[in-house]
């Protein structure tokens, strides 16, 4: 296998599992806690995030390399990157509303909240800070979104089961969700050292 392909595989495995954005890097928690109550919602959220993440990463990568660096406008990146994301989320919202209205309604407030999904902004930063090429950025963002969705679906599965368990009264609701997340995080620690 060529060196380039191996590199891409490494990016995929580390972004999705070893450095899982939620369970290892704590990024993207708000929608994680909010949307993981059902497996169906989780998959939908994961796909929406994936779409926005990949698009945003590519656009910001291009902006960074062709506009920001040559013009020394690095200090404006926080503002511009997040505005790009906001615009893309608007687009996704319009698309969903027209084509998949059920999912649109299920997502409710969480759709505009994708804009403030730390994960997307973080990924746009990492895409340029790690010095990736455009192809690597695409693979990276898809992998992160994959890891995000996997973590989300895993937790949703657990939560669906928890509904039928006897949870101590003060732990009902969010506390037990966090404890379940802690266990998931321990499991994912097992991936460390996978990528040399």
């Amino acid at each position: 296998m060529s060196g380039e392909l191996v590199m891409l595989l490494k990016i995929l495995v580390s972004a999705a599992f070893v450095d899982n954005i939620i369970l290892a890097r704590y990024i993207g928690l708000c929608p994680y806690i909010g949307m993981s109550s059902s497996v169906a919602n989780s998959i939908g959220m994961g796909m929406a995030v994936a779409f926005v993440m990949v698009l945003a990463s590519c656009v910001t990568w291009a902006l960074w390399n062709f506009v920001f660096l040559p013009l020394h406008l690095e200090y404006l990146r926080i503002m511009v990157f997040i505005l790009v994301i906001a615009v893309l989320v608007q687009l996704v919202e319009i698309l969903l509303k027209k084509n998949v209205p059920n999912l649109y309604r299920a997502m409710g407030i969480y759709l505009p909240l994708i804009t403030t999904n730390c994960a997307i902004l973080a990924v746009t930063f990492f895409g340029v800070d790690y010095g990736y090429s455009l192809l690597q950025v695409v693979v990276y963002s898809i992998s992160v979104a994959l890891g995000f969705t996997v973590a989300l679906v895993l937790l949703a599965g657990i939560r669906e089961r928890l509904r039928f368990s006897r949870v101590p009264s003060f732990y009902q609701g969010y506390p037990i969700v966090f404890i379940a997340t802690a266990l998931l995080a321990i499991a994912f620690l097992g991936f460390k050292g996978l990528v040399k």
Binding site: Y26, L76, M79, C118
Partner: protein, 199 residues
């Protein structure tokens, strides 16, 4: 005037952003490994939250409904960038330790969430009260987590050796699982002592 104090207290306890509203979590767990990071983050969030809420509240009658989100974003990201630049210049080691989480203040759900739900609808004085309350509530929780994590994870507090040298440190507390566990316990504790939130 009584309302001012109500909103302030509310942000700290009743609607504590982290333990009740479940917003602003990412930064809390990632940054809370050392107490000095917590205090710096708390200060940063407090600054951005207060300035943004104030400005957004002052602008609330001049901002057309349709573009309010982009305008919030511009205001919040301006203050976030200021914090980022100032920290890089005058607190470089802290800036490096906190890494990407300083620019991530801009997507801290607390700031955006309060701008939309509160600051854009209330007069500046109340927006200020809410912002201060939320900021203080945030700082208290993140520090409470940080204290436990630093003591049990490193045996230190504010980088001062606290526990005997024979205490190796629970790695569990420094890694993500420990943080998640701790927050779950804190929420449960708050539920126990301050009354349950409606699910």
């Amino acid at each position: 005037m009584r309302e001012f104090w109500f909103y302030l207290k509310n942000g700290i306890i009743g609607e504590n952003p982290i333990l009740r509203l479940m917003i602003g979590l990412c930064s809390v767990l990632a940054v809370s490994v050392r107490v000095d990071n917590c205090l710096a983050m708390g200060a940063g969030v407090l600054f951005v939250l207060t300035c943004s809420s104030l400005v957004i509240s002052l602008l609330r009658n001049f901002v057309p409904r349709e573009v309010r989100i982009p305008i919030f974003i511009v205001v919040i990201s301006t203050f976030t960038t200021i914090v980022d630049l100032v920290m890089q210049a005058y607190l470089p080691s802290l800036s490096r330790a906190m890494g990407v989480f300083i620019p991530l203040i801009v997507v801290n759900c607390i700031i955006m969430g309060r701008a939309e739900a509160f600051a854009s609808r209330k007069p500046p004085l109340f927006a200020l009260a809410d912002a201060l309350g939320m900021g203080i509530g945030y700082t208290l929780v993140i520090t409470a987590i940080g204290v436990v994590r630093e003591i049990f994870g490193y045996g230190e507090l504010l980088s001062v050796r606290f526990l005997p040298a024979s205490f190796q440190g629970m790695m569990f507390m420094i890694l993500p699982p420990g943080a998640f566990l701790l927050i779950g316990i804190y929420i449960a504790l708050l539920n126990r002592f301050v009354g349950r939130v409606k699910q």
